[in-house]
Amino acid sequence: MASVSMTINGKAVRANVEPRTLLVEFLREHQRLTGTHVGCDTSQCGACTIHMDGKGVKSCTVLALQCEGAQITTIEGLANGEELHPMQAAFRENHGLQCGYCTPGMIMAAIDIVKRKGHDLDEHVIREELEGNICRCTGYHNIVKSIAAGAKAMRGHAGLQQAAE
């Protein structure tokens, strides 16, 4: 067992883990943050995307131990109390999901795209950027709409974003 410390959704966390424990396992089972979903175990689907030090990362590709000192944000850390993050609100407004299993990963990936590509995202950019996230249901169309709307709504919500990181 090895000790690890990190900040998850603004809260300092210290724990002992088996050294090869994946971050997604650590979040879901040890921290009981089950909003991050396991889809493929093989980094091919994107359902487990979280933010590590402000960047989108598939949490099945990172060991918990590699997150020593890191700032981790999960889907549970986005909303400000009852107030949804603008990207979450956009998914709600645009019916951006069907079964919803891929949704947490889509939302986390979407916020990452906005940070890298700005608030005015055309559909083409969104599609190219989301190639690593799959939805089987498949709500691709509404997800793209949600992200375009969410990206715009995130303008001026810098404070909220910071709070979320």
Binding site: E18, R20, T21, L22, E25, R28, E29, R32, L33, T34, G35, T36, H37, V38, G39, C40, D41, T42, Q44, C45, A47, T74, I75, E76, L78, A79, L84, Q88, A89, F91, R92, H95, G96, L97, Q98, C99, G100, Y101, C102, T103, P104, I107, I126, R127, E128, L130, E131, N133, I134, C135, R136, C137, T138, G139, Y140, H141, N142, V144
Partner: protein, 736 residues
Amino acid sequence: MNAHLSRRAFLQSTGALVVAFGAADAGLAQAPGSAGAPGRVLDPARVDAYLALHPDGTMTIYCGKVDLGTGLRIAIPQMAAEELGIGLEKINLIEGDTALTPDQGTTAGSTGIARGGVQIRQAAATAREALQRMGAERLGLAPADVVATEGEVRPRNGGAGIGFGELIGDRQFALKLDAKAPLRNPDDYLLVGKPLRRPDIPAKVTGTHLYVHNLRVDGMLHGRIVRPPAVDAKLVSIDESSIAHIPGVRVVRIENFLGVVAEDEWDAVRASRALEANWETRDTLVGDEALRQSMQAGPFESDEVLLKKGDARSALASASDRLRSEFYWPVQTHGSMGPSCAVADVRDGKATIWTASQGTHRFRFAFAHFLGLPEDAVRLIYLDGAGCYGMNGHDDAAADAALMSRALGRPVRVQWMREDEHRFDPKGPPQLLALEGALGSDGKIAAWRTEMWIPKATASLPNVPLLGPDAAGAKQPMGISTGLISQNASPPYGVKNVDVLAHWLKDAPLRPSNIRAPGKIANIFAVESFTDELAAKAREDSLAFRLNSLEDPRGVEVLKRAAALLGWQARPSPGPGGLGRGIAYVHYKDNENYVAIAMEVEVDRPTGAIHVRRVACAHDCGLMINPDGVRSQVEGNILQTLSRALFEEIKFDRKGVTSADWASYPILTYPDVPELLIDLVQRPHEPPLGAGEASAAPVAAALANAVHDACGIQLRTVPFTRERVRTALSGEGKSG
């Protein structure tokens, strides 16, 4: 969310339970073998099976159908609230719990609304009549002089009303469902037909929704299954010393069933990977490469004439110029995003199983059977899983969990690994069709024969045999189930001489199950592609060729509307090159939805890549309860079926499935998503039908027809891989 099973949730759900004051009413006796929670009426013929009104004016709907991400969770309350006259905010919905909800059949075949919702609507209409009678009596008015609205019975001419809660309160209706209870006039609808939002979306965007994957119960162990390297392998020996370094792991071995459990999930995962097991494998499978040939060789269960009109054989024999083509649809997986998962607690002669099953009621018998328990000691409770589109691994995972829980006397949660899901979920079966047709002197189709080679579903089988019990040597009904895969195999164009013959195969190459729009996608792929081949032979425009012979006005309308969305220009196919367009039509199951799909594609000749640019769909499912839900289902059908037609085939060798992940079984990703143009026909005075399947059926045919229009090749084998397109282009004009 740490979602411990909430006792409160259970109590809330039974909190409606009502003292049976009508105990003498024979209707309170429950249907045989359907013992439920105390006081619950489960007989699907009774109003109280579906609805309970509470003293505070709220209502619980008990629904045997479940929401698979499909929107039933808003649509069914819309139907019930509309019919009863109560606010949606007053409604709580319980789904798919064998102790609480009536058996309304599996959530399959696009029947959630058409059967499940319609039953609940009739229960609400019956309840409304009863409430109006009670209210009228209290108000001293005739029943005709009161109305039920906003949760009250009010005098028709105004004045104070009485709340439903006060009228029925703690009592049961003790009424049979009245098939004649009048329904509200659709012209007066306030809720039905509105794109109201699903109630489950907020928790799904905040990561707090209770999927079965997130359920934790007290004392629960985490389990993983150690799958054999080959189908039908025998477990010879295991070496437990191989996992001695992982603390607290226990092995569950029952004949050829092998699993591990641990307090910590990661320990279970590690142990399942590290455990050394020695298996005896055999080459029992035909393999994907030899599959197509093998289907025409049998062995066969039977031949069945599904349709015989006129004399197709003679008409074809005497035709001067007839066409014959073969179409093949491969084995495919449901490809759920999440690996299957379930939690089971089997102790003290009782079993409780939390499962994402599409058929909690249907599977109860099978679970009782292999657990050796009476059926009424087994309770299956539906919780959301990842979208499944037919029977994926959910029921198998539930059986795995139940076997291990019984062995250990503690609750066990089993989650499959991705590889388990791709390799072992029951698969959509392969289909092979041979079509023959000839034109008459009028340029219309004069004769048509369809021959199909398809696996036979075993009649009256309660389920597909479950993997875990099978390995464990437990008794269960053996057979196969594939859904109704022989439907929509004849042309809907008034052809006078038609034969449809099914050669039912005794077996399927891999354990099969129903997969979205079972059989109909492949059958329509064949029928509507072949219709285009005949249209091309007649040098007729594809749309006009269909409209010339189609009489059903609802069919004509969707064809015209889909074509109009795409800006269809009449001309024969193939076109001049460049952008190709194709169209296909289905009258789903010959008696349900009307759908037409038209699409535009470009084919990149050097690479063989098909780029789908625009897809237009006109969709008529009768009365739409929630157009937003219908639109999502239609979009999902189109994109998922494009994926299946363009990319998907399960590869397997003599031992087992080799397409074990998303790299070896690629599906549609964002860059391949076309523009979608969707036209939903609202028909308020027609019965409501489902939307979860029908629009999948014409997708592959429209795609093949568009490819033919673009470059002159007719693709008849799915998937339309780049290699297949290149091969077909090299022998242009011939089969693909």
